[in-house]
C-alpha cells in the first residue's frame, strides 16, 4: 500500500472514529481515550528514534512538556488558539530534538540515552523557575466556552484532535519505515559502523530521526494544557510518559509502526482500568514489571510473537 493511500485510509478511519464516538454517552470514555491516544502518539514517535534507529531516549517527557508549554506560552503571550499552537509546539519540540541530537548523537547510544535524561531534568528545572508559564505553581489554560463544530463539550474536541494526530503520527512513522531513509535507519540500528562503511550518512540520518521523533512527541503534548485546564511541571514532565513511551513499543514490537500502536492501546487501556480500580502507583508498577519481563523474555514484543508464529506456519 503506497504512503498516499495509507494516509487517506488512516485519516478517513480517524474521522470516522471521531464522528462515531460522539454517540458515546459515557463522558469518562473521552478522557480515558484521550490518554490512550496520547500514548499512541508518544510511543509511535519514540519508536522512530528508538526502534527504527536503535537510540534510546529517556527524556520523552521533556519533549511532551515542550509541546504543552509552548501552547501555554503562546496562549499567555498572544492568546493564540490550538490551531496555531499545535504546529508551533510541534516545531519547537522538533528543534529541541534537532539540538539535542546534534550535540549528542555523535556519541555512543549509551551516552545519548543518559544525555536525554539530563536534558529532561535541566529543562524541568528551567520550567519550574520560569514564572511566565507559572513555574512550580502551575498555569491555567481555560477551555473556550464555545466548542467548535457543534460538539457538546470541549473534551470531545480534544479527543477528536488526538485521533487525527494519532493517525498523522502513524502515517509519518510508516512512511519513514518503508522509505530508503527507513532502511538506512535500520542499518544504523543493526550495525552503525557497517552502515557508515556502506555509505549511509549515519549522523545526518540520526539527527533527522531525533528531530521527527521529538516533533511528534511535542505534538502529543500540545493539547495537554486544555485537558485539565491546568498544567504544572511535575505532571507535564512525569516519568510515566518516559517509561510508557519505552514500554509500549517494547511490548508491541519495535520493528514496525504497528508495534507501538498495539502496545499503546493494550497497555494504555490496562492502565486506565487499573488506575480506576486499584491505584495509580500499582499502575506504574505493572508498567515497570511488564517492561522488564518483555525486555528479558520477549524482546521483539507482540509483533515478534506474531512474526514467529507466521514463520512456523510457513514451514
Amino acid at each position: 500500500m503506497s504512503n498516499r493511500l495509507f494516509a487517506v485510509v488512516a485519516i478517513a478511519i480517524a474521522l470516522a472514529i471521531a464522528a462515531a464516538s460522539q454517540l458515546i454517552a459515557n463522558e469518562y470514555f473521552f478522557s480515558a481515550a484521550y490518554t490512550v491516544l496520547l500514548y499512541v502518539i508518544l510511543a509511535t514517535a519514540w519508536n522512530i528514534l528508538g526502534g527504527y534507529t536503535g537510540y534510546v531516549n529517556f527524556g520523552s517527557a521533556a519533549f511532551f512538556a515542550i509541546g504543552a508549554y509552548t501552547t501555554v506560552a503562546l496562549f499567555y503571550a498572544f492568546k493564540l488558539p490550538l490551531l496555531v499552537t499545535v504546529p508551533a509546539g510541534t516545531a519547537v519540540a522538533g528543534l529541541a530534538g534537532l539540538g539535542l541530537g546534534y550535540l549528542t548523537l555523535r556519541l555512543r547510544g549509551v551516552f545519548f540515552a543518559i544525555a536525554s535524561l539530563a536534558f529532561a531534568v535541566v529543562l524541568f528545572t528551567f520550567v519550574v523557575n520560569w514564572d511566565f508559564v507559572g513555574g512550580a505553581r502551575g498555569a491555567y489554560v481555560l477551555q473556550p466556552s464555545e466548542v467548535p463544530f457543534g460538539l457538546p463539550r470541549y473534551i470531545h474536541l480534544l479527543y477528536s484532535v488526538m485521533v487525527l494526530m494519532a493517525a498523522l503520527a502513524l502515517v509519518v512513522a510508516r512512511a519513514i519505515e518503508k522509505s530508503a531513509i527507513g532502511r538506512g535507519l535500520a542499518a544504523i540500528r543493526d550495525d552503525e559502523l557497517a552502515a557508515e562503511s556502506a555509505g549511509v550518512p549515519t549522523l545526518k540520518l540520526k539527527i533527522f530521526s531525533a528531530t521527527v521523533s521529538g516533533a511528534l512527541m511535542g505534538m502529543a503534548g500540545t493539547t495537554f494544557p486544555y485537558y485539565l485546564s491546568y498544567i504544572e511541571p511535575s505532571s507535564a514532565f512525569s516519568l510515566s510518559y518516559s517509561v510508557n513511551s519505552i514500554a509500549m513499543p517494547l511490548i508491541g514490537g519495535m520493528m514496525s509502526w504497528m508495534g507501538p500502536l498495539i502496545g499503546a492501546v493494550l497497555l494504555g487501556t490496562v492502565q486506565q482500568l487499573v488506575q480506576v480500580t486499584i491505584s495509580s502507583a500499582w499502575n506504574l508498577l505493572i508498567v515497570g514489571v511488564l517492561l522488564v519481563l518483555f525486555v528479558t523474555l520477549a524482546p521483539n514484543g507482540i509483533m515478534g510473537w506474531v512474526e514467529a508464529w507466521r514463520q512456523r506456519r510457513h514451514r
Binding site: 538506512g184 542499518a187 543493526d190 550495525d191 559502523l193 557497517a194 557508515e196 556502506a198 555509505g199
Partner: protein, 243 residues
C-alpha cells in the same frame, strides 16, 4: 602521480603511548591487486581503519584519486569509491541477505551509476549470483554459515560499486575449497577493473592473487615488491618465523 588510485603517505597512528603505525607509505593503482601481509598486531587493520576514516591518523596524508580525503567521514569515502569488508562479518541482522545489499546500493552505488529504485532489487540479485548467494537471497542474514557470511561481507562491499575494495581477512579460518571460493570471487573483480587490497594470512591465496605484496611489521612497512621477491626476502621470512 595521476595514475594512482590510493596514495598513503607517511601515515602515523598512535594510541596513547603506543605507536600502531609508523610513517607508512602505500600506493595502489587503478585495477591493481595488492596483497597486504604481516604478523598479528602489525597494524594491518589499523591501516585499513585509517584509510577508511574509522580512525584518524595523527600524521601523514591519504589521497584518493588525487584528493586528500583525511577530513572526509567514512560514508563519504565509500561514496567516492572506497569500500571495505570487515574481518569479523557485520551483517545487518534484521534484514534478509538481499536487503543487506540494498543499503550500499541505495547509499553508495548511486554516486557512480544511474540506478533507478525499482532496479535495485535486480542489481542486488545480480551481485548475489556473482558471489554464489542467489539461493539465499531471502534468508535471514544472521543465520548464515561462516563462508556465506564472508561472501555477504564482500558482496556488500561490491554493491557499493567501488573503485578500490579492501578485503580484510575474508579467508580466515575457512577450509581449502572455501578459500578457493573467495579467491574466485575476488578475482572476478579484476575483470570489472576494481582495485583490491587483500589482507590475508593464507599465503598461497596472497601469492596467487596479488600483483604486488606489501609487508607490515610492528607498524612499519618493511617490504613492497612482487610476490616472488617477497617470498625470498629474508626480513619477511624472519618476521613470520621469528628470530
Amino acid at each position: 602521480m595521476s595514475n594512482t588510485l590510493l596514495e598513503v603517505k607517511g601515515v602515523t597512528k598512535r594510541f596513547g603511548g603506543f605507536t600502531a603505525l609508523e610513517s607508512v607509505d602505500l600506493v595502489v593503482r587503478p585495477g591493481e591487486r595488492l596483497g597486504l601481509i604481516g604478523p598479528n598486531g602489525s597494524g594491518k587493520s589499523t591501516l585499513v581503519n585509517c584509510i577508511c576514516g574509522v580512525l584518524r591518523n595523527e600524521e601523514g596524508v591519504i589521497r584518493f584519486e588525487g584528493r586528500d580525503i583525511g577530513a572526509q567521514p567514512t560514508h563519504r569515502r565509500t561514496r567516492l569509491g572506497l569500500a571495505r569488508s570487515f574481518q569479523i562479518p557485520k551483517p545487518f541482522v534484521s534484514m534478509s541477505v538481499l536487503d543487506n545489499l540494498r543499503i550500499p546500493l541505495l547509499y553508495a552505488a548511486r554516486q557512480h551509476e544511474k540506478l533507478a529504485t525499482d532496479r535495485i532489487a535486480d542489481e542486488a540479485m545480480r551481485i548475489l549470483r556473482q558471489v554464489g548467494l542467489a539461493d539465499k537471497a531471502q534468508a535471514r542474514s544472521g543465520g548464515l554459515t561462516q563462508v556465506d557470511m564472508r561472501k555477504l561481507e564482500l558482496a556488500r562491499a561490491m554493491a557499493a560499486k567501488p573503485k578500490l575494495l579492501i578485503s580484510d581477512e575474508a579467508m580466515a579460518g575457512l577450509s581449502a575449497s572455501e578459500v578457493d571460493d573467495i579467491l574466485a570471487l575476488l578475482s572476478q573483480l579484476k575483470q570489472q577493473g576494481v582495485a583490491v587490497i587483500m589482507i590475508e594470512h593464507v599465503m598461497r591465496a596472497v601469492m596467487k592473487f596479488s600483483e604486488r605484496v606489501a609487508v607490515l611489521v610492528a607498524g612499519r612497512k618493511i617490504a613492497d615488491d612482487d610476490p616472488q621477491a617477497i617470498a625470498a626476502n629474508p626480513d619477511v621470512v624472519r618476521a613470520y618465523l621469528g628470530e
